[in-house]
Amino acid sequence: MTANKARRDGARSQGESDEQPQPVSKVLLLVAWLIPGLGHWLLGKRLRALVFAGVILGAFITGVLLHGELAVPQQNSPLSWFFAFGCIGDGVLYLIRLLWINGIDGIFSASFPYGLDGGGNPVAVGFFYGKTFLYTAGLMNLLVVLDVHDIARGDKS
């Protein structure tokens, strides 16, 4: 009985030591966030990388073409940070779009990060649809980053 228990405990501790998670490179996560799909590509998941890149880019471009507005932080509106976080998930697409709309001077104005223009045209028919596509793209990329983390850690294949 005692021998069995000891064997079981030994096997459990052996199993636990085998399943120790791998350390995840922060650079990999940063790259995965900045360029949609690149994290999976670097991990050798080429098909998934292409699909994720295509889907996220497709959603982002649709949002821009529909005159959707990117969420930006606004003063006295804590909830705007929540929306901005979702959009910042777009990575470099978000940064390029903000740069396109505001210019370098606008981005690094005195009131940064407040006072940024998220673009879009509120009068356009597709304004809210566009926002939905832009938010969806950002949130999908955040999930992609989490997926890269799980794969790199060895929790998922």
Partner: protein, 55 residues
């Protein structure tokens, strides 16, 4: 601008995304894609009809 086409396009993108995120085999991906896509499109139409009586 066709609102229904935008709905279908959005459902297509999201269904493809989750099919590749959550499934690793081709059969599982196809099944999840179809399930998610149909739930989003048909669900939106049904919800739209259900909202008719409300102002």
């Amino acid at each position: 601008m066709d609102h229904f086409l935008l709905l279908v396009w959005h459902a297509l993108l999201v269904a493809t995304f989750f099919a590749f995120l959550w499934r690793s085999d081709a059969r599982g991906r196809k099944f999840l894609f179809l399930k998610t896509f149909l739930i989003m499109v048909v669900g939106a139409i049904v919800l739209g009809w259900l909202m008719f009586p409300f102002p």
